[in-house]
Symmetry: C2
Subunit: 167 residues, 2 copies
């Protein structure tokens, strides 16, 4: 199976081996190739590789404490978001960017795990404090990345009950 | 450039040629391979290919009226969503599924356009009425799909101002 979309599984155990800058650039390029509502692109990327900061960020959530050599935090910036009833499109933009990082990581032979932050208020505040973000910046996801040290098998998530054909 | 993540652009002009059932199945398989918070999988897929219904759905928005032989509407089902402050994770789940459909479509040689529905209230209501959805079902996106009849060139969305390295 070579399709990284189907191959991707959440990986929670990583080798210590660092991820190269070249690979990080490819992950970020994939992230920013995601579509954005009205092309507002209100999404920022915080790339964390220092051991102390990795630990501090990882301790912000209950289910985010596994060790990984790289974390990318995907952040929505409300100052660049659409106005009024469109303002929450940043969530979809940041989710599409997150998903692109997961797929690109799989294609590169890296493992990844999407850990949700927003809309968990306490966790948003903790990550904000750790990264020095303003209250206009909302961290959406914390992506754990690295060379995998566990290999969950791909499994089809296909469920025909979820599909409705409308003629 | 063979990476469909980077190749993907929004396509708004399609040939009349129908999309085969086999391709539709691959799009849906990709969609359901997306991760879901706590594996709740609160996302449904409405596959629309009949001419009248395509027209009806397309008229639900101001910027969704372009003709396409296939629409997939991605719907969050609140009955299967997480509780309390986690309930809005369905938006991220449905966005990741939407993004997977766009990338798989590109890999298959199809064009696609992600048209946002939620959180535009009037549009949500119109699509709900057109598909006979309950008020627990929230359409997130309407994906236009088909063989492209325009070929926007891939362009890097990479913007170094959006990247913050934290040691």
């Amino acid at each position: 199976m070579s399709n990284p979309i189907l191959k991707r599984r959440s990986v929670r155990k990583f080798k210590d081996t660092p991820v190269s800058r070249e690979m990080i650039d490819r992950l970020l390029e994939a992230a920013m190739a995601a579509p954005s509502a009205c092309n507002k692109r209100p999404v920022d990327f915080y790339v964390i590789s220092g051991e102390e900061k990795l630990h501090e960020i990882s301790m912000c959530g209950r289910f985010t404490r596994m060790k990984a050599p790289l974390i990318i935090v995907v952040v929505g910036n409300l100052k660049r978001a659409l106005p009024l009833e469109f303002s929450e499109y940043w969530i979809q933009d940041a989710s599409a960017a997150t998903q692109n990082i997961l797929i690109e990581a799989t294609a590169l032979g890296l493992g990844s795990c999407w850990c949700g932050i927003h809309p968990q208020k306490r966790m948003v505040e903790k990550v904000r404090a750790a990264l020095g973000l303003t209250d206009k910046e909302i961290p959406l996801s914390m992506i754990k990345l690295g060379y995998p040290d566990e290999f969950p098998q791909p499994h089809s998530g296909y469920d025909e009950k979820r599909v409705h054909f409308v003629e």
